[in-house]
């Protein structure tokens, strides 16, 4: 048990976690870098401690500094948020070794899901559908590699076991290109991830990104909270997300959701997590599991009515889930636009001082942000400054509310990608639903050529 939580993160998610803690009567310790010393959310913390200079390696990624801050302040639990140390198994282990609670899964689970080969093996065992391809890592023998590639059928994709987020992968169109691609990718993986292990899968041409949120308590119970569609991506970064994923058969989704929960039970998973899938031609293909809270969790909160961060804290305190799968209902539709401090045309980050900041409101509109007028967006971190989330009885209503909300969002002093979101919301293909993960890139390219 704990009554004081150290929040080892910054920006909107630090504030989001702080609110959830205070809602449960938990005290908060917020740690910050010198670059964030002026952030207004630090004022609402029970205690705020500077842990280092602006560079993430010396502050938000500095495990020792964070653990010292927890010990100095008497915090008994650490919430890592997303990014930074949230999927770092060594950090989870060090926190627990220091006698504190890491709000997340065990180090063993983080490690297992962080290794793509091990993760896929665990998923196959639980009956979670995976992309066609051999279970294990690729062998060294060229003849065997060639045979595996030919059996799957081209195109295939060669991926580094230690990669992710679009890094360390290579598409192969023809049988004769396979061996050269494998040797280049293996060398890249050795250098970039320190792990030369590769695996190979069928390449999907027009998949959507569909994911399933799960909650697992420490007592072996788990539920899944419907689907999210995060197909609107640019360079593998999600731009706009929604829940539920449009046009997926409820029975098909339920079958996969139940298997996700079963997989969690088999690996001894605890806390919140997300199973990410590619979805093509009515088939789900597991890609990876995120063993942490995700940026886009609010769309699921609005459709299920469950405060995911508060539930995460309750489960970390050892409380059992108070509802079962049959109690989970999803209602209406929710959208989330990630507002970044970046140029809407070039996507170059635009740090600087926000001189005007007015956010929309009203029925079905939620804004998660740490920004206030006068806030200085630091250049050292992710450029996301807000998440605008809308909810409606239908997708059309959620879209209409988002259009109104974005028209009333006033940001001055820095450039933002609000204009991009406004354009996306007018795109007939997106408005019709079910675009694939390459759609936004294609649409951006078309727009550039039209100019």
């Amino acid at each position: 048990m704990f009554d004081t939580v150290l929040i080892a993160n910054r920006g909107e998610i630090a504030l989001r976690i702080q609110r959830a803690c205070h809602g449960l009567g938990l005290k908060t310790v917020m740690v910050y870098s010198q670059a964030d010393a002026q952030a207004s959310y630090l004022q609402y913390a029970d205690e705020a401690l500077c842990i280092g200079p602006a560079a993430p390696g010396q502050s938000y990624l500095n495990q020792q500094a964070i653990i010292y801050a927890a010990q100095a302040s008497g915090a008994q639990a650490i919430h890592p948020g997303y990014g930074f140390l949230s999927e770092n198994a060594d950090f989870s282990e060090r926190v627990e070794a220091a006698g504190m609670t890491f709000i997340g899964p065990t180090a063993a689970c983080i490690r297992q899901m962080g290794d793509k080969v091990a993760a896929k093996r665990a998923m196959r065992k639980a009956g979670v559908p995976c992309v066609p391809g051999p279970e294990g890592a690729l062998p060294d023998d060229p003849l065997l590699i060639q045979r595996i590639g030919d059996e799957i059928g081209y195109p295939v994709i060669v991926k580094a076991a230690g990669g992710g987020g679009g890094r360390g992968m290579r598409k192969v169109e023809r049988s004769e290109d396979l061996l050269p691609a494998v040797s280049v990718t293996r060398e890249e993986a050795r250098r970039a991830f320190g792990n030369p292990e590769l695996y190979i899968e069928k390449f999907l041409g027009h998949p959507r990104h569909v994911e399933i949120q799960v909650l697992c308590d420490n007592h072996g119970r788990g539920v899944w909270l419907g689907s999210r569609d995060c197909s609107q991506q640019r360079r593998h970064q999600k731009v706009l997300e929604e829940a539920p994923a449009p046009g997926i058969d409820a029975a098909l989704l339920a079958a996969v959701g139940e298997r996700c929960v079963r997989a969690c039970q088999q690996i001894g998973y605890r806390g919140v997590g997300t199973f990410e899938f590619l979805f093509e031609d009515d088939e789900f293909y597991f890609i990876e599991m995120n063993t942490r809270l995700q940026v886009e969790h609010p769309v699921t909160e609005l459709t299920t009515g469950i405060d995911i961060v508060q539930q995460q804290l309750r489960m970390a305190m050892g409380e059992p889930l108070t509802y079962e799968q049959r109690d989970i209902r999803t209602q209406g539709h929710a959208l989330e636009c990630r507002i970044n401090a970046e140029d809407p045309q070039t996507f170059i980050p635009t740090p600087g001082r926000v001189t005007r900041w007015e956010v929309p409101g009203g029925m079905g509109v939620r804004v998660d942000s740490h920004v206030t007028a006068g806030y200085q967006v630091p250049p050292y971190y992710d450029s996301m400054i807000a998440k605008v989330i809308t909810h409606g009885a239908t997708r059309e209503e959620a879209l209409a509310r988002m259009r109104t909300a974005l028209s009333q969002l006033r940001i001055e002093g820095i450039s933002s990608n609000v204009a991009l979101h406004r354009d996306i919301l007018q795109d007939p293909d997106f408005c019709a639903g079910s675009v694939d993960i390459h759609h936004l890139e294609r649409w951006l390219k078309g727009r550039r050529q039209a100019e």
């Binding site: 401690l49 500077c50 280092g52 010292y68 010990q71 100095a72």
Partner: protein, 136 residues
């Protein structure tokens, strides 16, 4: 080169009222520039300081971790340093206690100790100034 050295260099170029500083080595090059108006106003501040005799403290050491500041090891009777002591860079000036761990705090500038800038057992965090040095 450790990043804390840059802080030291900034202090040096500020006190010398230099506009630009460049350092080149095998692995890196570093260039620090100060805007000309700040150089000019820096000179003005120095001139004023002579009259008002209230210069900013010269920092001899700062905290680099969160914890409680101790001016002496619990096993000793006297503080590691006292006002008037002449210290070199790297001299032990106190400790920071985190739980059961005692971490040494060393001087980042040389000079004559003026005073401790925090109370005994005070909670400190990264960047808290701990010790001031007499202006030379």
């Amino acid at each position: 080169m450790h990043i804390s050295k840059i802080r030291q260099i900034v202090e040096w170029i500020s006190s010398a009222n230099l506009a630009q500083f460049e350092l080149h080595s095998g692995d890196f090059s570093l260039r620090l520039t100060r805007p000309l108006n700040s150089v000019a106003s820096g000179a003005a501040v120095t001139a004023q300081a002579v009259e008002s005799a209230a210069p900013a403290p010269r920092i001899g050491a700062m905290a680099t971790v969160c914890g409680r500041f101790l001016s002496r090891h619990p096993g000793r009777d006297t503080p590691e340093v006292q006002p008037g002591d002449v210290i070199a860079v790297g001299a032990l000036i106190g400790l920071i206690q985190v739980g059961d761990v005692l971490l040494p705090v060393t001087a980042t500038a040389a000079g004559t100790v003026e005073a401790f800038m925090v109370e005994e057992q005070q909670r400190v965090d990264y960047g808290t100034a701990l010790l001031s040095l007499v202006h030379t």
